[in-house]
């Protein structure tokens, strides 16, 4: 059995889309596990199991995985899938081939300032391997991010656990031919689409910040330089956020309308 673990928060907008793509592309028996904080409970009918949860994304994923591991055998598969991610082709060949080489496969968002860690927008392992690790989606351990500043993110602790145990993992990388954005609207390994920041309005990631306006240094302007740079940055950030939201809405509307036209333009 394959257990799809996906958290939806605040908006039901991806539920029908995700459920439809799972039905279409997963050829093996599967169950869907979720929590729907801030969403009308009637949406629960799209899932096999719905849990009451509060808090942040990593803790919710950890909790869902714990509930599954309590009920099902070690050889069953766990598929973590972000709420705004879904398969666009049968993922089973990729999963089977990868799990024959390593106990875990996951998206690595190398395009996001070379992020090193597994990402839960798509990650598959066995219940047994998750227990053995033990898996935890929290951040904590750090690496250099945009402009060399140390950062952490969801999956950081999972990466560190695998490093300490010397466990390999198969990285599923971005495979878009057309990039509407350096991070969002991504296809990974030709099998999974991840809209990106699907539940947060206009969040800026490391790779976006890395492309921000360079600092200016006007001779003799003294502390005024800081004020000027701050204003330039805020203006640029707002413009980027507006652009992301507009682009996100356009792509979302095309996906929601059905068909594969939107996908063909990315791959």
């Amino acid at each position: 059995m394959l257990h799809v673990v996906s958290v939806h928060f605040s908006s039901p907008r991806w539920i029908e889309i995700q459920a439809r793509h799972l039905r279409r592309h997963i050829p093996v028996p599967y169950m869907t596990w979720t929590s729907l904080e801030g969403i009308d409970p009637s949406w629960g009918e799209h899932f096999d199991r719905v849990f009451e949860q509060r808090g942040r994304h990593p803790g919710k994923l950890n909790h869902l995985a714990m509930e599954i591991a309590h009920e099902f055998p070690a050889e069953d598969l766990l598929m973590f899938l972000d709420g705004d991610a879904f398969p666009v082709a049968d993922p089973m060949p990729l999963i089977e081939q990868s799990l024959s080489r390593a106990p875990l496969l996951a998206v690595r968002r190398a395009e996001n300032v070379d992020q090193p860690q597994p990402h839960p927008c798509f990650c598959v392992t066995t219940i047994g391997a998750w227990r053995e690790l033990p898996g935890d989606w929290s951040g904590g351990p750090t690496w250099p991010g945009a402009r060399g500043i140390r950062v952490t993110d969801v999956g950081g602790h999972l990466l560190r656990t695998m490093e300490l145990k010397g466990l390999p993992w198969v990285q599923v990388l971005r495979s878009n031919k057309v990039d509407l954005d350096p991070l969002h609207f991504a296809v990974y390994g030709d099998v999974v689409y991840h809209h990106g920041a699907g539940f947060r309005a206009g969040d800026l990631s490391g790779v976006h910040s890395d492309n921000g306006p360079p600092r200016v240094q006007i001779p003799g302007a003294g502390p005024l330089n800081r004020l000027i740079n701050r204003r330039r940055w805020v203006r640029w950030e707002r413009a980027m956020e507006r652009h992301h939201l507009e682009q996100s809405e356009q792509v979302y509307r095309r996906i929601a309308a059905g068909g594969d036209e939107w996908l063909r333009e990315l791959i």
């Binding site: 808090g55 942040r56 990593p58 919710k60 950890n62 714990m66 509930e67 904590g140």
Partner: protein, 268 residues
């Protein structure tokens, strides 16, 4: 060996106090593990191990425990201790008695609207039990809190792991009164002091919110006016409560910093 895991964030104000009380009261060999995000790296010399971390408190604690468990044998002890918590008496009798009855001993903040979960302001278990449980300080699993609303908090997933595996745990409860504050300035099991929200200025706890004035429902006032009156009453109450908490917090912190144990009279 006992491994003390504590996260300091943004301010070094509790470091000297915590390390002094550990030296004074922990009667067995121990090592300290920490991270010092946004704190001058010079403070690292007060600890045995300093690990680079970012992110939130539960993830940092999980990560520190992973680093310890990678190096330490199963029978070593892990003591999770909030940055603004420290022993005020030898904790070993409580720990030894607790671990003879269950694999995990932890504060339960029952005074916080009956919080059901273990809290990392003080929690002790063995490396082996932590591995076995697949300990995780994240929230996620939820329960009814303030005014019946579902909440989660740090330790929620650990509670669920204990429940699912049928593992008992020993709860260390508040042993001082709540006159100063319904949650903060707590002494637990007569051995641990937890200042509470020591790294966040003036946050209101669920226990405090539970004492907030109920909205006026009088039908004499028209609805829009009633809403405005209720909002003003609520804000005034929040400001008063936060100011009171901050004043107590500063007074007690200053008294603790001066050394000795006279300050305990302020919170008992």
């Amino acid at each position: 060996m006992l491994h003390v895991l504590t996260v300091h964030f943004l301010s070094p104000r509790w470091i000297e106090i915590q390390t002094r009380h550990l030296r004074e009261h922990v009667s067995v060999p121990y090592e300290t593990w920490t991270s010092l995000e946004k704190i001058d790296a010079g403070y690292g010399e007060r600890f045995d191990h300093v690990i680079e971390q970012r992110g939130r408190h539960p993830g940092k604690l999980n990560h520190l425990a992973t680093e310890v468990a990678h190096e330490a044998p199963d029978d070593d002890l892990l003591m999770f201790l909030d940055g603004d918590a420290f022993p005020i008496a030898d904790p070993m009798p409580l720990i030894e008695d607790g671990l003879s009855r269950a694999p995990l001993v932890a504060v339960r903040r029952a005074e916080n609207v009956e919080d059901p979960q273990p809290h990392p302001c003080f929690c002790v278990t063995s490396v082996g039990a932590w591995r076995e449980l697949r300990g995780d300080w994240s929230g996620g699993y939820s329960w009814p809190g303030h005014r019946g609303r579902l909440v989660t908090d740090v330790g929620g997933n650990l509670l669920r792991a204990l429940e699912l595996s049928g593992t008992p745990w020993v709860q260390v409860l508040r042993s001082n009164g709540v006159e100063l504050d319904p949650l903060f300035f707590g002494i637990y099991g007569d051995v641990i002091y937890h200042h509470g929200a020591g790294f966040r200025a003036g946050e209101l706890s669920r226990a405090a919110l539970d004492r907030a004035p109920r909205p006026i429902r009088s039908l004499v006032l028209p609805a829009p006016l009633r809403r405005r009156v209720n909002m003003r009453r609520r804000r005034a109450w929040e400001r008063r409560t936060q100011a009171g908490y901050l004043a107590h917090s500063e007074r007690i912190h200053a008294a603790i910093s001066r050394g000795g144990s006279d300050w305990l009279e302020l919170v008992r």
